[in-house]
């Protein structure tokens, strides 16, 4: 069960979204922003057919059908509230952002023509002209102001309220120009604006069930928890628009059922399948796997402010007893890269390759457990299928620990309510973090002393000041060095064990063309509908 119900982690999937597009303009300003992006991933590729896809000519027509893995009555078309992968897919079909991230992780212009700032504090956004909403109304600066200001209103309940707070003022200068003022300089603003939540909606919208946006598809049917049907938007501002005539999207929460639906030809794409289903897909002619290596990871969090996490030796012991190779090989069937307990994956240019993963060493682990005086005690670990592969990881750690006489009591709790009731709260629990476009966002969200999701309650003044320092730095090498040091600090000091970076695997029919690697998320960063075509 891969139901990510009320999964706040997933709610930030949007932040890492990028898109691949023909003919996008590049601005000098953006080259400066490269620092905030993520490098082209070596892992991201479409198995066996990447070159074909690039070479092929898109075909028009057909009805695209795809299935995600989670959906509920909480499904929404309000980008500010989007929290599930299915929400992002729908929003990507209906709306556009000011910027988007390309496959190299570089922010590109979408609804904005250019975004400029002299001091990285006051920003001027020049909007593309001739963009119309589905209802015929033209896009103006008031729409942008409305869309951005919504995130600051607590009544809206925006998922990115914490990030949006740095925006102190948004105003329309003229119908195509918007001015954004930040509390402090932040060179990453264009990257931040590429997150799904910052999609542009029409001024004054309160009822989002109509899904009026500027996107490549118009909404036809939207049944929360059931399905959505979209029709190609003939007036899309990008030349050509979508290739398919219509797009139907829904969720099949059962992994097997999702794979079977694909194999039986009912759908073109089954998102995020479990490693154990790969063999079936591979054995069937006409189907392929699309693998995306990104910064997604499931981590074991040991709170430093609670027993037994308050004993540093316990944490060290846990790090040694975690058999990362076995998790990578058996749990994830190779669809993962061994990690070194810090959140910046090799897909990022800021990844510190010097920092080696701790080798599996039961003897050292035993030594540290003994030193912490916990050997033989019954230590509860909360896990749930809500976090990808967390249950399997827990059993592997449990088994290794059992062999040195360490009694880890794995308690699986239901998916439902996991994120609100256990995550961040239990002394030892699992989390699942989706990729973020910049180390700044990752560290701010997860490791700064005041981070909202400080999973292990890691607090370090030195770390906090380094974070602020790096954020303002324009010297790329210096910035990389600081981020490198911060990675070491997290790996050594924080209570989060990140055993592997997990690849996302989408299974698709060979008829579906144009789906390309995206280093930051499956389904082309959830925006695939606009780019793929069906080769009948």
């Amino acid at each position: 069960m891969h139901n990510k119900i009320t999964n706040w982690t997933a709610s930030d999937d949007a932040m890492v979204e990028n898109a691949i597009r023909r003919g996008a303009t590049r601005r000098e300003l953006l080259s400066m922003m490269l620092a905030g992006g993520v490098a082209m991933s070596a892992g991201g590729m479409i198995l066996g057919r990447a070159s074909d896809a690039i070479a092929a000519t898109p075909k028009s027509g057909g009805n695209l059908k795809a299935a995600g893995w989670s959906s509920s009555t909480a499904d929404t078309l309000d980008p500010a509230k989007a929290s599930l992968s299915t929400d992002y897919v729908r929003c990507c079909a209906l709306y556009n952002r000011l910027t988007f991230l390309d496959q190299a992780g570089i922010a590109q212009m979408e609804l904005a023509e250019k975004i400029e700032s002299a001091d990285a504090k006051t920003w001027t956004v020049k909007l593309r002209s001739g963009v119309t909403f589905h209802d015929g109304k033209s896009l103006t600066s008031t729409d942008v102001v409305f869309s951005l200001k919504r995130h600051l209103d607590p009544a809206v309940g925006s998922k990115v309220n914490a990030i949006a707070k740095q925006i102190t003022d948004v105003k329309a200068v003229d119908p195509t120009t918007v001015e954004i003022v930040l509390a402090n300089p932040n060179a990453d603003l264009p990257t931040i604006l590429s997150q799904h939540h910052f999609m542009i909606v029409q001024d004054g919208t309160t009822d989002f069930s109509k899904g009026i946006g500027t996107g490549a598809f118009k909404l036809e049917t939207f049944e929360p928890g059931v399905k959505s049907i979209f029709a190609k938007n003939p007036n899309y501002f990008k030349s050509g628009g979508a290739h398919v005539d219509s797009f139907e999207f829904f969720a099949i929460s059962d992994d097997n059922a999702r794979v079977n639906a694909l194999l039986s030809g009912d759908i073109h794409l089954a998102a995020s399948i479990k490693p154990r289903s790969m063999r079936l897909v591979e054995s069937q002619p006409g189907f392929v796997l699309s693998k995306t290596t990104s910064g997604n990871y499931t981590d074991l969090n040991i709170r430093l402010d609670m027993t037994p996490g308050d004993k540093a030796d316990f944490i060290t012991g846990m790090k040694y007893i975690t058999n990362r190779e076995q998790i990578q090989k058996s749990v994830l069937r190779g669809l993962a890269e061994v990690a070194n307990d810090q959140p910046i994956s090799p897909a990022s240019v800021y990844h510190n390759a010097e920092l080696k993963p701790k080798a599996f060493d039961p003897e050292k682990a035993k030594f540290h457990f003994e030193k912490a005086g916990v050997l033989g005690q019954k230590i509860p670990i909360i896990t749930s299928d809500a976090a990808t592969s967390a249950v399997e990881m827990a059993t592997i750690v449990q088994q290794s620990a059992a062999e040195i006489g360490m009694n880890l009591d794995v308690q699986r709790v239901p998916n439902d309510g996991y994120w609100s009731n256990y995550w961040l709260k239990a002394p030892i629990h699992f989390g699942n973090i989706n990729p973020r476009p910049t180390p700044d966002i990752l560290f701010s969200l997860l490791y700064a002393s005041n981070a909202p999701w400080n999973e292990s309650q890691y607090k370090s003044e030195k770390f906090d000041s380094m974070l602020v320092e790096a954020r303002g730095l324009l010297d790329e090498a210096k910035r990389k060095e600081i981020y490198g040091q911060m990675q070491v600090m997290v790996a050594e000091e924080a209570g989060t064990i990140i055993p592997v970076y997990i690849s996302n695997v989408d299974a698709i029919t060979e008829k579906l063309k144009g789906l390309e690697a995206n280093p930051l998320g499956g389904m082309m960063g959830y925006a695939f509908a606009e780019y793929v075509w069906i080769d009948a």
């Binding site: 139901n3 119900i5 009320t6 706040w8 709610s11 059908k65 299935a67 509920s72 009555t73 909480a74 499904d75 929404t76 929290s83 607590p154 009544a155 809206v156 309940g157 925006s158 998922k159 309220n161 914490a162 049944e223 929360p224 928890g225 059931v226 399905k227 139907e248 829904f250 099949i252 929460s253 059962d254 097997n256 059922a257 079977n260 639906a261 194999l263 039986s264 030809g265 009912d266 759908i267 069937q284 998916n415 439902d416 309510g417 609100s420 009731n421 909202p452």
Partner: protein, 316 residues
Amino acid sequence: MRTFVLNLIAHRLLIAGLTLLIVSFAVFFATAMLPGDTATILLGQAATPEAVAGLRAAMHLDEPAVFRFFRWLAGLAQGDLGTSYVNNVAVADLIGGRFVNTMRLAGITTLIAVPVALTLGITAAMFRGSLYDRIVTILTIGVISVPEFMIATSAVLVFSVYLKWLPALSFANEVTSFWQVLKVYAMPVITLAFVVSAQMIRMTRAAVIDTINTPYVEAALLKGASRPRAVLYHALPNAVGPIANAIALSLSYLVGGVIIVETIFNYPGVAKLMVDGVSTRDLPLIQSCAIIFCIGYLALITLADIVAILANPRLR
């Protein structure tokens, strides 16, 4: 005599009403006990204490549970199922279409499963002790001992993935013709029919055997009636009561127990809706779904009682 029967039926309805009241009470307080504060969950990371307090007041969460219960009950009585906490849509709208789906699936399954189960149960009773009877008995136990997700998954693999005869999903394909209805509903219906038939077969067989051993069936045989006639014409009408009860109990499963089938075939029914409700702590939705299941159950049971009353001339 007529008024007597009407009184009996009125009594049954009264009992059903009373049960429903108890159920609504139980449902309300059971769901109210779910951990996790609704307001906090709804507000998510924007959950400042003031916002939480405000939302709680707006949703009447700050009132004692008893008040909320009566407020809810009064709403129910007026047909107002409340508003979903999660997306501010009237619960009735959320349930509406799903309810039709659930009823359609249940209805089609009933049309298939009941005649098959009755035929098997009655014939097994008719030829009690024969090889046929033994096979039916063993098969029914065999079938109910296979988890339904196993039946469903195997069916999908065979008929959708390998043979490609039937779609793997039940709603993904637009249904326009009768033929398509057959194709789309075939697998969920067969899976469910497997699950609900076994008990019906067992109970029908037992009920008919009970009446076969009566003097009036013997008398019919001694009139020269064939065995099928003795069973169908004489034994069966007297077994209507217990059979109706068994059918009602089995069919009640089709209203709320089909969550696994709904999940595997991605069929948008009420059971899945309720699971959604549990995940999102959408209390009005959970409560309404639970009440719908209870009404379904009580309606079936009461209907079975009434059928039993009407089938018995001594009460008529």
